[in-house]
């Protein structure tokens, strides 16, 4: 395959692959992200130390705040929920050979769609919640489909279209929230609050949205490995030419994968709106879709692995304020740690370090199906 083709991201391959014998790829799939995270924490620790704070104490504060109390755990679950879903959105794209950078835009459109469905109707909760969620997913899917159609039928790079559609989505939701859908008689750009019947409940200290996110991650893990459609996604992702030769409708599959990806991002926005923010306000959703890229890459495009990856990001984000409160370290240090993690996961530094000997023995560890 050609190096310049942006659709050929081979992250899917590093998944535990039932077709390939041997435990090494499986070990590698776990080891690379874990070592990357540890390295990022080590470098982040140096940064913290340079500011005159004991990094062990700083990390203890960070994790103790997030995991040491039921409020902290609730906050971590709340923060992780949309991240699991946007991580899955990017993952589905990667598995099909698509790099969906537009999860942020799809999430925004899904969030405002769910907000509208949430405040504009009065329905029993059993109907209202699924309806509002489904409408948010539909909005996200529709938004991603613009890029999907262009990619599948006009060969326009989805990297370019999704990143540009992010900007369009931001302008669109700003317009909607400041004009047709704006809450009247107050100066802030936001929609009215969603009806109580559309609000996602908490089960004890577990938000319903978190359970939804877990269920969706498990579903897609099954879907990608155990269904025909999932097989088509994977095959197109590995080699569209082979897929075409095997009789898989490549264009249709690419379009479908993009729509599913958008629906997942839209679901993230819907769950966030109905479960946490209670209305749409543009500033509430900043960065969630971009974190999804980090999470999908950290999870090496494995749906189940998005859960721990999102929890890690959730812990860092929810502990950041306490970190500043207790140590004076600026909250952006967690962004530095996440960015470093991403660099280590994505760049082959860690795999080179880890796998030097192994790669010499086994000529190709992760180039299997793609064939460079």
């Amino acid at each position: 395959m050609s190096v310049t083709d942006p659709s050929q991201t081979d992250l899917g391959h590093t998944d535990p692959d039932p077709m390939r014998a041997g435990r090494w790829p499986r070990v590698q799939a776990v080891a690379i992200p874990v070592v990357s995270v540890l390295l990022a924490f080590a470098l982040g620790g140096i940064l913290i130390w340079l500011q005159g704070v004991n990094p062990f104490y700083a990390y203890w504060v960070l994790f103790e705040n997030a995991l040491g109390s039921s409020e902290g755990l609730l906050r971590v679950m709340q923060k992780s929920t949309p991240l699991i879903l946007t991580g899955l959105a990017v993952t589905i794209g990667l598995r099909t050979g698509l790099f969906n950078i537009g999860a942020q835009g799809q999430l925004l459109v899904g969030a405002i769609g769910a907000a509208w469905a949430g405040y504009n109707f009065q329905l029993p909760a059993l109907i209202h919640i699924p309806f509002a969620i489904a409408f948010g997913m539909l909005c996200g899917a529709a938004w991603a489909s613009i890029a999907g159609v262009l990619r599948a039928y006009r060969s326009v790079s989805e990297v370019i279209t999704t990143i540009m559609l992010n900007a369009v989505a931001i302008a669109l939701v700003d317009y909607l929230a400041s004009r047709p859908l704006k809450e009247p008689d107050q100066p802030i750009t936001r929609t009215p609050p969603v009806a109580d019947s559309a609000a996602l409940p908490d089960f004890g200290t577990v938000p319903a949205g978190f359970l939804i996110a877990l269920a969706v991650a498990i579903f897609f893990s099954w879907f990608l490995t155990r269904t025909n459609q999932g097989f088509r996604f994977n095959t197109v992702g590995m080699n569209p030419n082979a897929a075409n030769y095997a009789g898989i409708g490549v264009k249709r599959t690419i379009f479908l994968a993009m729509a599913v990806s958008g629906a997942l991002a839209g679901l993230g926005g819907a769950v966030e709106t109905l479960g946490i923010t209670g209305r749409f306000e543009p500033t509430f959703n900043a960065g969630l879709g971009f974190d999804g890229i980090t999470i999908a890459l950290l999870a090496r495009a494995n749906p189940l692995a998005t859960i721990p990856a999102a929890l890690l990001v959730g812990i860092l984000r929810s502990g950041a304020a306490t970190l500043q409160f207790e140590t004076g370290i600026e909250p952006e240090v967690v962004d530095v740690i996440l960015a470093l993690t991403l660099l280590f996961v994505a760049a082959p530094i860690v795999s080179r370090l880890l796998l030097r000997k192994k790669t010499q023995k086994r000529t190709s560890v992760d180039s299997g199906g793609g064939g460079v």
């Binding site: 190096v3 942006p6 050929q8 991201t9 081979d10 992250l11 906050r75 790099f99 950078i101 990297v159 990143i163 700003d174 317009y175 400041s178 004009r179 704006k182 100066p187 802030i188 750009t189 946490i276 923010t277 306000e281 500033t283 509430f284 900043a286 960065g287 971009f290 890229i293 980090t294 890459l297 984000r317 929810s318 950041a320 304020a321 306490t322 500043q324 409160f325 004076g328 600026e330 909250p331 952006e332 962004d335 996440l338 960015a339 991403l342 660099l343 996961v345 994505a346 760049a347 082959p348 795999s351 992760d366 180039s367 793609g370 460079v372």
Partner: protein
């Protein structure tokens, strides 16, 4: 294979980093708008801090917040709106004021920078959980979270900077300003400075009272300085009133073309669009000027420095300081507290303003402060 993963990863990392940096904004470690403001502030004369505390300036290094619950220890916390404490705007000014108050009180002070608006309540809870005595929250977007927190933590005193209070709450003081006074002062300056006897404006919506107070004050001040001046007040429609820089730029351009030589731009991004447009005029800083609003916009909109005569300023530093000291001393007034207003330094246009004009503006500022000058507001809201 590796090369591809690398390329994707670097692209993603770059994206991630840019998305982060844009949210934090450009933060430079420069001195505050406070520098200009702190100087004329009266020294904390009456209540000398206890001898032990006055030996060296109170700072995070000499005190900590491990025992804020003890009556002798005063702890003051500040939660920023999304943004940094060196944003050269509301967050920074409120923090400067809080620090000055803490020095005056011999108190411990600390801040948390909010990165996600969903964390307002949690960030306030960090301080409340440590028995802080006074918590300052910045910006009208935090108004609802502050009211909720005031109900949840009745023993903590809250100060909402730029938060208008409807029903007064016992432990919550909102720092607000009489915008008509600041508007009057810059209007007076504009009335003296105009050569064409035409001055204009690009304002956020008149359905938001503070904006209308700025505008009406501006008009009244200009007419008081120069009865022949023609003042154009243009308000944005209510929707998206503060987020429309193109409209601000178009209005400014239109009025300059019609012969106005000073534009007062007040209304968030809408107004900033107007300021930047005026700065592009060939006569900017010599024959054509702009006037900013709220804080010293020389720092917040450096692109407009060339034309920026001054800004109709809410003195957030001293306003916050006064309220924090009152709250810590138990003399806080619930509900709305009016802070001082004024005008920002002239900066780059210093040389363009004649000395006698500066003197007259100083007199007007003094008159506004002691109440001998009436801006005609709030009755002007009915205009």
């Amino acid at each position: 294979m590796h090369r591809k993963i690398l390329a994707v990863g670097i692209a993603a990392a770059a994206l991630f980093l840019t998305s982060c940096s844009s949210s934090t904004g450009e933060a430079a470690p420069e001195p505050a708008p406070a520098a200009s403001e702190a100087a004329p502030e009266p020294a904390p004369a009456a209540s000398e801090p206890a001898p032990a505390a006055s030996e060296e300036p109170v700072s995070a290094a000499t005190m900590d917040d491990s025992d804020c619950a003890a009556p002798a220890n005063i702890c003051v916390g500040l939660v920023t709106d999304t943004g940094k404490v060196d944003d050269k705007s509301f967050n920074q000014a409120a923090w400067e004021g809080t620090k000055l108050a803490a020095e005056e009180l011999g108190a411990f002070s600390k801040y948390i920078e909010t990165t996600d608006p969903k964390d307002y309540a949690n960030n306030i809870a960090q301080f409340a959980g440590k028995s802080y005595d006074v918590i300052v929250t910045v910006g009208f977007l935090m108004g609802e979270a502050t009211i909720a927190a005031a109900a949840e933590y009745p023993s903590v005193k809250f100060i909402g900077v730029d938060q208008f209070q409807g029903e007064p709450i016992e432990n919550l003081a909102g720092l607000v300003f009489d915008e008509s006074k600041a508007g009057y002062a810059v209007g007076y300056l504009a009335g003296l400075m105009t050569k064409t006897n035409k001055i204009g404006s690009a304002l956020g919506t008149d359905t938001v009272p503070p904006v209308k107070l700025f505008g009406e004050g501006y008009k009244a001040g200009a007419l008081a300085a120069n009865p022949d001046v023609k003042v154009t007040l243009v308000y944005h429609e209510p929707n998206n009133a503060f987020g429309d820089p193109e409209w601000g730029a178009n209005e400014a351009r239109k009025q300059l073309d019609q012969g106005a030589d000073i534009i007062f731009a007040a209304g968030g991004a809408t107004g900033n669009g107007g300021l930047i447009e005026v700065a592009k005029d060939p006569g900017a800083g010599t024959t054509v000027f702009c006037i900013g609003v709220d804080i010293d916009q020389f720092y917040t909109v450096p692109q407009a420095a060339k034309c920026l005569l001054t800004s109709a300023e809410k003195k957030l530093v001293s306003g916050t300081q006064t309220l924090v000291v009152a709250a810590a001393g138990g003399s806080m007034t619930p509900g709305n507290n009016f802070g001082p207003t004024g005008i920002a330094p002239y900066h780059d246009t210093e040389g363009a303003v004649p000395e006698d004009v500066k003197t007259k503006v100083q007199e007007v500022l003094a008159g506004l402060e002691d109440g001998t000058i009436d801006t005609g507001c709030p009755a002007c809201l009915d205009n």
